[in-house]
């Protein structure tokens, strides 16, 4: 079931998530700017499609999620004066179209590229608002993520 706050499907494992005083788990994206975009990105970032045992169904699902995410980003940057972000969003759509959908599912490499461009655009949006960049690793515990790729910041 998707979260009512961010729309993403986090809390996949019953034991995970932070307990609130009322005994309910809160959404980690609650109150953060660009909630929908960040949660949408992370759902893909930690998604099943990136695993070695991913099926073509996982890949197709990721393709559709990514398409929705890119459209949501397009709406967000519409009124912003960030030409570099527009360029990256264009590249994200280009990578997505190159990826598939394909008969055996979209090509992982290009889905990955599209997601990276999407992450960069979300970063641009946050930067314009003076906010720190989005780090999926900060939300890893809310997903069924075995291992978070190490990404050194500068």
């Amino acid at each position: 079931m998707n979260c009512s706050i961010c729309g993403a499907g986090h809390f996949p494992a019953p034991a995970r998530g932070k307990a609130t005083p009322a005994g309910e788990r809160s959404c980690p994206y609650q109150g953060v700017p660009y909630t929908e975009l960040r949660a949408g990105h992370d759902q893909l970032y930690f998604g099943r499609w990136r695993r070695t045992d991913a099926t073509s169904i996982d890949l197709r699902k990721a393709y559709q999620q990514l398409e929705r995410l890119l459209h949501a980003i397009a709406v967000s940057i519409e009124k912003e004066d960030i030409p570099a972000a527009r360029l990256d969003l264009g590249k994200a759509f280009e990578a997505l179209h190159t990826a598939g959908p394909g008969e055996e599912g979209p090509e992982v490499r290009y889905l990955d590229h599209a997601l990276s461009y999407a992450h960069r655009v979300i970063g641009d949006l946050l930067h314009e608002k003076g906010l720190p960049p989005h780090a999926p690793a900060d939300f890893a515990e809310w997903y069924d993520a075995g291992e978070v790729p190490f990404r050194e910041d500068w």
Binding site: G130, L131, P132, W154
Partner: protein
Amino acid sequence: MIPLDRYPKEITLRNEAHVVLRPMTPADADGLWSFLRQLPEIDKSHFHEDVDRREVVEGWAKSLDYETALPILAISGDRIVGSVTLYRNQTGWKQRIGIVRILIAPDHRHLGLGTAMIREIRHLGEKFALNYLLAEVIEEQQAAVRALERMGFEKAMVHRNFVNDRKGHLHNLVVLLHPMSGLEKEIFY
């Protein structure tokens, strides 16, 4: 017209520290000199002058010309903790190429400041209608290379044993290019 109306701009780093970005002014000479003195030697290799000499930095501050070199400083409190400079030629065959130099104080690395500075220079590059941004980095500066690549710069070439540091030791020089959106709108004959 230089698009500087976005400054001063406050940003938040990963450790929640606040930093203000703004163009350098003549009053920044002392702060910049202090900032440059704390950088490791290798970060200062590209300078044509001895930046440990105060009069060199004072000379820069007196002769600021944003049209040819636009330095954006990152200020934490009253201290300069980073700088990114966009160099441009006003005429000639490289007038649509911007050269980028980024310096980050050692105690402000790995907090996202370098990446924020790259975002800033990409924005300015677009506003100046440049076709490319060009960054040259010594290969040992791997965090900088990775950050530039993550932000869309592509390794164009690596020159082996190409540049020397101030002690005369040779280093590999990585040249990275960032194609800007204007390039795609160019009409090729």
